[in-house]
């Protein structure tokens, strides 16, 4: 039972967003639509995730994970 939970957690395809001290970590996104200094737009299952703020920049860009740094003001789903 526990193993199943762990497996589901690891192989989950659900969108996950974590925010911690000027850093925003997005898991399981599909693609980057816009990448600007004050706005980053990502897509997931044809839906948009809009991140607004100042001095936004990428720190990591992987197939299913993106790490954004900057003065993040809003996250719109």
């Amino acid at each position: 039972m526990n193993m199943k939970k762990i497996k589901n957690y690891i192989s989950s395809k659900d969108l996950k967003i974590n925010y911690f001290s000027r850093h925003l970590n997005v898991l399981n996104y599909d693609s980057i639509i816009t990448l600007e200094n004050d706005k980053v737009v990502l897509s997931k299952d044809n839906k948009l995730i809009t991140i607004k703020g100042h001095d936004l920049s990428l720190l990591k860009l992987l197939e299913m994970e993106i790490l954004i740094e900057g003065d993040i003001k809003t996250i719109e789903l």
């Binding site: 720190l59 990591k60 860009l61 197939e63």
Partner: protein, 381 residues
């Protein structure tokens, strides 16, 4: 999956960074540096980005991980080959035997040990031996030469083997039952007789010639030899020596005192400058260790051990020279005599004064051990 072992760091101008994102290039780490971005990529993603190298002005900055070392190796392979060859050669040379020192003054024993070592494959220009092998060789040599060697040790000092040994001295255990006479070692007047066995045939103050019997092992009765025993005695007698000494009239002697000092010395042309030079010695003797010197440049830096010396430089009077000559003659004679001997009397025989030397003949009366032995044969003696 990202390969964390090999990382390629590329530099891309900021204006092109957004454009490459659409090519699905995955970046482990992104660092902004002035107007550029440094992208940390694995091999697959580096290959993807490499295609746009010229279009987007992408430059490979650095490698990280194993690839970094692979690249260094391939760039400097010649150096590494030479380095390891050199190292190998050094190890090879340092494991060869270049000298074997056998510490003994006995030449025969030295040759014997040398041959034994050679038989055990421990010889010049062969490989050094392991501790186990060395111990085995040591035991083998000792076993083969039980009668000649008391102790043997083989120590390695770099490329040199030092063989220390102790010769086995088998005391010539004389058959204590062999009958013998005590005879005179040299011509002398007998001054003392200490006999423990045998018959004394000479008296004190008797003159004896070399080989003459003093204490005999023959037991006689009515002039007939009844038995032969081993005579035991110690005889001291007065002996005589003429010693000739030629001594210089002009006398020069240099002796070191216990005072010494160390100093640093710099020589420029003919000028010498001493550093850390404390007390001045009137006369000194220098042992020099060169730190720097050059055949072309007139400069030399050296470390010196300086010893204070007393110099005796004088012309002796004939009396002084004679006294000195007698002193030398005495010491010359005493050096040749056994330790229990003593000079009873001395007399100047002849003195010849030359231009630079004085020739003195001195006569000595000496008290010394004149004991010698001669074995007696059971029959016919």
């Amino acid at each position: 999956m990202i390969n964390i072992n090999n990382i390629y760091i590329v530099k891309i101008p900021e204006k092109y960074f957004k454009k490459i994102i659409k090519f699905h290039i995955y970046i482990t780490k992104i660092v902004k540096k002035k107007d550029n971005y440094l992208l940390y990529l694995d091999y697959t993603n580096y290959k993807k980005i490499e295609k746009f190298k010229k279009i987007y002005n992408i430059e490979l900055e650095e490698y990280k991980g194993l690839i970094k070392y692979q690249k260094i190796l391939s760039k400097h392979y010649l150096f590494f080959i030479m380095f390891f060859l050199g190292l190998g050669f050094l190890v090879f040379l340092s494991n060869l035997i270049f000298k074997i020192e056998i510490k003994t003054t006995n030449e025969a024993l030295k040759n014997l040990v040398s041959k034994e070592l050679e038989n055990n494959n421990l010889s010049l220009y062969k490989f050094v031996k392991s501790y186990k092998e060395k111990e085995k060789i040591k035991s083998s040599i000792l076993d083969n030469n039980k009668d000649k060697l008391e102790w043997l040790e083989i120590t390695r000092s770099g490329t040199k083997y030092i063989v220390s040994l102790e010769e086995r001295i088998i005391e010539n255990i004389e058959d204590e039952k062999t009958p013998r006479d005590i005879v005179a070692l040299k011509n002398a007047i007998i001054l003392s007789i200490e006999a423990r066995s045998g018959s004394i045939v000479k008296k004190l103050n008797d003159y004896v010639k070399k080989g003459e019997v003093i204490v005999t092992g023959k037991i006689t009765h009515n002039d007939e030899v009844k038995d032969l025993i081993r005579a035991e005695a110690v005889i001291y007698g007065e002996t005589w020596y003429n010693v000739h000494v030629s001594y210089p009239i002009a006398y020069y002697e240099k002796t070191r005192t216990l005072k010494s000092k160390k100093r640093l010395s710099l020589t420029l042309f003919n000028k010498k400058i001493n550093f850390f030079d404390k007390a001045q010695f009137e006369n000194e003797e220098i042992e020099e260790t060169k730190i720097f010197s050059n055949k072309l440049l007139p400069i030399k830096l050296s470390y010196e051990n300086v010893y204070e010396v007393i110099i005796k430089d004088q012309v002796l009077t004939p009396e002084e020279a004679t006294t000195e000559a007698i002193r030398v003659a005495r010491s010359k004679l005493l050096n040749t005599l056994p330790k229990d001997s003593k000079i009873l009397n001395q007399k100047k025989l002849k003195i010849i004064i030359n231009n630079s030397t004085i020739d003195v003949d001195v006569f000595f009366k000496v008290y010394e051990n004149i004991t010698d032995t001669r074995e007696l044969e059971e029959k016919g003696e």
